[in-house]
Point group: none
Chain length 182, copies 2
DNA sequence: CGGTAGGGATAGGGTTCT
DNA sequence: TAGAACCCTATCCCTACC
């Protein structure tokens, strides 16, 4: 019969994350065509990439797609839930040789569930985006309740201070010193 | 909390086997939607069907799922093992009113473990399939050692002679006079 | 037609119950 | 302890919509 099920290797996963970081989400065919990632992902289709990204993303934030749907169904309460912090999927790690200078404040891990939402919002926009875009993304996708805004705002400021995010003219982007990894 | 464990009735089991014979394995939602079987199986989900089929199939071939895993772990040796013949699950019985003429050679039971693998291979392909497909299925799923090929080949020829299998243009299918039953 | 998004189905590992 | 029934979720498939 067909293939018995092709499990993703961590190499493939890393390539996918790097591809999303470079081209943005929803650019699956573009990522596949990029020789930087296409070679690693040559046995995957654009749809495979989409599915895997959905799985990675939703797993990091909710633990599973099923739980994500349940969370969506509930009253707009627990957007990012508490037991999501001990996942490793959508995390960001420092690259060996970054071009910029060291941050004034050292980063102290680990990343929180708020961080992960912020990363997803920024990554998804593909361009440096302002605070309002980040909020809109979060509200559109996670039905976060109002009193959850403060911790997110605090993390946004913190991540900027430690150099994980770079803020230019009120717009945020992820530092090139960091990239998604397993 | 949930349901107290709903044991499968033999009616349900028969319906499942007939459904697999008609639609092939892996078509659980289709089987459920087929009014011919859906009414009997109305308290079962597609996943239930899949799980039950796994139990039936693997039990017939190995005695249990655990033994099946062990068999897989061993060196590609004992694909179908010896103590599988005294099971009743994946057997085939003659239907009362078959459309075709009686076979030149009467069938003498019982079915062997080789037969069961052949049935599974053909059933799984959903279409009449040639000898090569059957071998590929067997090798993919049971890691049969080469010197086991002969008994399977002999049974394939025998089952064709007695009319359990029908061979057309080098392709085999199960006779409509026969169906899986408990 | 090719591509993406999203819902939904399947495969296979794991867990619970008996 | 084994086996049957059931759960979990990564992967894969289908369809609507550009």
């Amino acid at each position: 019969m067909g293939a018995p099920k092709q499990k993703w290797t961590s190499d493939e996963e890393t390539a996918l994350k790097a591809g999303v970081l470079k081209h943005g989400t929803g650019k699956w065919r573009t990522i596949l065509s990029d020789p930087e990632f296409g070679s690693v992902l040559k046995s995957r289709s654009n749809v495979d990439l989409k599915d895997k990204w959905r799985n990675i993303s939703v797993t990091a934030l909710f633990g599973s797609r099923r739980k994500a749907k349940l969370a969506h169904k509930r009253t707009p309460s627990s957007g990012a839930n508490q037991d999501a912090d001990n996942t490793t999927a959508l995390t960001i790690v420092a690259l060996a040789n970054g071009p910029t200078s060291p941050p004034p404040v050292p980063f102290e891990g680990p990343f929180t569930s708020e961080d992960k939402i912020i990363f997803e919002a920024i990554t998804n926009s593909k361009k440096p985006c302002d605070k309002k875009s980040i909020w809109r993304y979060i509200e559109d996708n996670f039905m976060m309740e109002p009193n959850k805004k403060r911790p997110v705002a605090l993390r946004l400021k913190y991540l900027t201070n430690v150099g994980v995010l770079i803020k230019t003219k009120h717009r945020y982007k992820i530092s090139p010193n960091f990239m998604a990894a397993a």
